[in-house]
């Protein structure tokens, strides 16, 4: 009885205005927040709109953005990858040691292998470790939170041992110079890592929207049992997803290392939390199944612009941690509110009753 099926409207759907507000908030909210912040800083802080300042924001956004793209895959399946910041450091250290040809700090030696080969090895290592984490998570049905937390320590530990806690310095060859350079478009300086990040986001969007792998990613996050019973190879999909996260974190790690000309265990500091925050701010549910990649990009820029804005508004750098922490809590709060799980914030749904 289709005409009667709608009669038993659950209270959640009862208030259409509330629904509309929430839908707009989900779809456009983060973008509006970002635009308001940019406009505010554009007007109040002239230093913010200098080409160098914008270039730096782009550079930082690229580094965290590539990591967050991988994190988006993982969170869409309902998992989480806490190893990404260690992966950024690890891949940078691997590439730096290979390029420098030594694990002695401060050598500035260029006796190692060409950057292209070193990068290839570093990325393979990162993807391999990611795949291995996925294998453990699926084969032993272990909680991704615990597995990736463990690998975070392992990868940081390996990076520390190999570098003895110091940075491995390198000299850039032409490839690394190209990958970390910025070029001018009009009066803007566009950093190459940002271009790479945008290309990665476009590829990820195609994968998520137009391949069966992407569909399976959403299906697993939406209902893993149903996905399995529909004949989807859930385990293999998840293994690949942790592999992708490892690969993307490694790409970010190589770019960060190239820019700093140093592979050090601190290179990825804070990136895990920030990447998760960016994904959630961008509208992907922590429980998986809904969300998307462009939201994550907006989330990344929100975090970067806040970070930069604090400087231009003369907030002491020591206080930045507080703001970043507040943003993360706010992001998770937003996630809960968006899903309508906070009763007293249901946009007047019960008004009049």
């Amino acid at each position: 009885m289709s005409d009667t099926a709608a009669v038993n409207v659950p209270p959640r759907a009862a208030n259409r205005t509330g629904n509309l507000v929430r839908r707009v908030l989900v779809a456009m909210g983060p973008l509006i927040v970002l635009l308001v912040m940019v406009i505010f800083l554009w007007i109040t802080a002239p230093a913010f709109r200098s080409p160098t300042s914008l270039m730096l924001i782009g550079l930082e956004a690229a580094a965290i953005g590539i990591v967050a793209a991988g994190q988006t895959f993982v969170i869409l399946t309902g998992g989480i990858d806490l190893s990404v910041e260690a992966m950024v450091s690890f891949s940078g250290v691997v590439a730096a040691i290979l390029i420098a040809g030594t694990s002695e700090a401060g050598g500035q030696i260029a006796h190692g292998i060409p950057a292209a080969a070193a990068i290839l090895i570093a990325l393979s290592a990162g993807a391999g470790v990611g795949l291995f984490q996925g294998l453990i998570i699926t084969a032993f049905n272990m909680n991704p939170f615990i597995v990736t937390l463990g690998f975070r320590s392992i990868l940081l530990g390996v990076s520390l041992v190999w570098t003895r806690g110091a940075g491995i310095n390198i000299q850039k060859d032409s490839l690394l110079s190209f990958l970390t350079a910025s070029f001018e478009v009009g009066s803007l300086k566009v950093p190459m890592p940002l271009v790479i990040a945008i290309i990665i986001y476009a590829i990820v969007w195609v994968i998520l929207r137009h391949t069966k792998f992407g569909r399976y990613t959403y299906a697993i996050g939406g209902n893993e049992t149903a996905a399995k019973l529909s004949g989807i190879n859930v385990n293999l999909t998840k293994i690949f997803i942790y592999g992708i996260s490892g690969l993307l974190a490694s790409i970010s790690g190589v770019l960060v290392m190239g820019r700093l000309q140093s592979g050090a265990y601190q290179n990825g500091t804070n990136m895990t939390l920030i990447s998760v925050a960016a994904v959630v701010i961008g509208g992907t549910a922590l429980s998986g199944g809904t969300g998307g990649i462009w939201g994550t990009l907006v989330g990344v820029f929100i975090i970067r612009v806040v970070d930069a804005g604090l400087v231009y508004l003369n907030v002491p750098s020591n206080a930045k941690e507080i703001v970043i922490g507040a943003i993360i809590v706010l992001a998770v709060g937003l996630d809960v509110i968006r899903r309508g799980e906070v009763k007293w914030l249901r946009f007047g749904r019960r008004a009049g009753t």
Binding site: N15, T211, A226, I232, T353
Partner: protein, 517 residues
């Protein structure tokens, strides 16, 4: 007729009167001046199709929703509950389909949740256990109240919920689909308790899709349709046909529009399938065009058998043959590759991804076929989905509608589409019409006929004997993990005799018999 059991039947005073209740949700009139009353010590069935307004009416009564207009008079007083808590204090308790219990906590803790007895600042455990035991004894239940709730069966968990209602001294208990998870024996226990409560003067509103239950246990039946009150009559004055006519608003010519299709060649053969103690040495054959009904009590291993055939759970030993050729099945993917599909008993938990669209759910199992190179073809996908939406008359505003917003019957058609898209040789229906309207049920049965005509072998697990008897060509009965008998539907033109034969096999008064093929 149970209503004659009532000592002074229809002359009992009214416990509850709801007058001209109207409730409007944006865009829909959920209840339109509905009248409903309950007498003291009466069991009153509230029936109607999904969306008729049963739940809305009861939620208004229990303070979950607030009515727009109308009066509620409970125990002679005008009342106006705005929270479930107020209704509970006044003496109205609802036992929901999905039990609101804390499985890890003890029976006592669940009964007293929110109303713990304290001495000073400490919880008075001895006192609470003593009271819990007394409440359970009232229901003739021999359950140790210190046990965790999770150690009890679903039926007993429900009884604990009834005990909780007694603890709150409820005069009126609303039971919303109380038997949906219960076995035949547990249903009998529940009915015994309902009669006991009635004898103690407690009134019960009984909401159920199972009309036979309404006839067995209730005194009066009220029918709602499209938010309107249609009729209230003594149970004895109605029969299944007249009741369905009231519910649907038209004649449903046949509840089970079974078409017998000439039996084709063997499609699926299972030999000596064993899985621990759950499934022991099961062998059977399914044929093209045949509906093989699989009957048995809850817990007999029917669903386990279906999952094992589908590769969802590992087996210890056994062989599968499709079209006479041996096949290995280690996962649902293997099963699907060999042409086997499974409509799970729990659509929402296992069959659908609720947050995905109708199109995405329909094409879920056939995406590789819709992929060219690396990318899936949106055009081909949409065409495939549209074909099923048209052919199965799936009532959805668009392909992009999230399945969470569809009705139960429509959702089941989406799941069925998903499997039909894989062009299966064998399709397993596990409880195909659970929680589905009478009208939608008939549509599902007709689709089964259509599949049978196309030569698909259908395995149908059902806890509803009428469904098994009405739609099967052959019935396989399972008891405690073993096949106890095969029955040819055609050998038993008499329904009563057939039912007795099934129950005989299901309850184990018979030895294992060879397959009648």
């Amino acid at each position: 007729m149970s209503h004659t059991d009532l000592p002074n039947g229809s002359h009992e005073p009214l416990l509850l009167e709801m007058r001209a209740i109207t409730k409007r949700f944006p865009g829909v009139l959920a209840l339109n001046e509905v009248n409903f009353d309950v007498r003291r010590g009466e069991v009153h069935a509230l029936v109607g199709e999904n969306g008729a307004g049963k739940s809305t009416l009861m939620k208004i009564l229990s303070g979950v929703y607030i009515r727009d207009s109308g009066d509620v008079i409970f125990k002679g007083q005008h009342v106006n509950f705005t929270t479930p808590r107020q209704a509970q204090v006044a003496g109205i308790t609802t036992i929901y389909q999905e039990l609101n219990q804390v499985a890890q906590m003890s029976v006592t803790e669940n009964i007293f949740l929110g109303s713990e007895i304290e001495r000073g600042v400490l919880v008075d455990w001895p006192q609470m256990h003593r009271q819990a035991r007394a409440l359970l004894a009232k229901l003739h239940l021999d359950i140790d109240p210190r046990l965790p709730l999770s150690s009890l069966g679903v039926g007993q968990q429900q009884m604990v919920e009834v005990a909780k209602a007694l603890h709150h001294r409820s005069d009126l208990i609303i039971m919303d689909e109380p038997t949906s998870a219960l076995s035949v024996r547990e249903i009998e226990d529940l009915f015994a308790i309902i009669r006991e409560l009635k004898a103690q003067g407690v009134s019960i509103v009984y909401i159920s899709h199972h009309l036979d239950e309404a006839f067995e246990i209730t005194d009066r039946i009220t029918v709602l349709r499209d938010g309107r009150h249609i009729t209230t009559q003594p149970t004895g004055a109605l029969n299944v046909d007249s009741l369905i006519r009231y519910m649907v608003g038209r004649d449903v010519s046949e509840q089970f529009p079974k078409e017998v299709v000439p039996r084709g060649p063997e499609v699926l053969r299972v030999e000596n399938l064993t899985q621990g103690d759950r499934l022991r040495n099961i062998s059977f054959t399914a044929y093209a065009g045949e509906v093989l009904g699989i009957a048995g009590l809850v817990g007999a291993g029917r669903t386990e058998l279906m999952r094992a055939i589908f590769g969802a759970d590992p087996i210890d030993s056994g062989r599968f043959y499709v079209d006479g050729r041996p096949v290995t099945i280690h996962s649902p993917r293997d099963a699907i590759r060999h042409g086997i599909g499974l409509l799970t008993e729990d659509r929402k938990q296992q069959g659908l991804v609720l947050k995905m669209t109708t199109r995405e759910n329909i094409t879920m199992s056939v995406l590789p076929r819709l992929t060219r190179g690396l990318l899936t073809s949106r055009r081909r996908e949409a065409a495939l989905a549209q074909r099923f939406i048209d052919n199965l008359a799936i009532k959805t505003p668009s392909q992009n509608q999230l399945v969470i917003n569809l009705s139960g019957g429509t959702q089941q058609k989406v799941v069925l589409s998903k499997w039909m898209a894989t062009e299966p040789r064998v399709l397993i229906f596990d409880e195909p019409t659970r929680g589905i309207d009478v009208g939608a049920k008939v549509e599902i049965y007709k689709l089964m006929n259509q599949l049978a005509r196309q030569g698909v072998a259908i395995l149908m697990v059902s806890s509803e004997l009428p469904e098994i008897m009405g739609m099967s060509d052959r019935i396989m009965v399972i008891r405690e993990g073993e096949v106890t008998g095969f029955i040819n539907r055609a050998d038993y033109p008499d329904t009563q005799a057939l039912q007795e034969k099934i129950m005989e096999y299901a309850t184990g008064s018979n030895k294992i018999v060879p397959e009648t093929a």
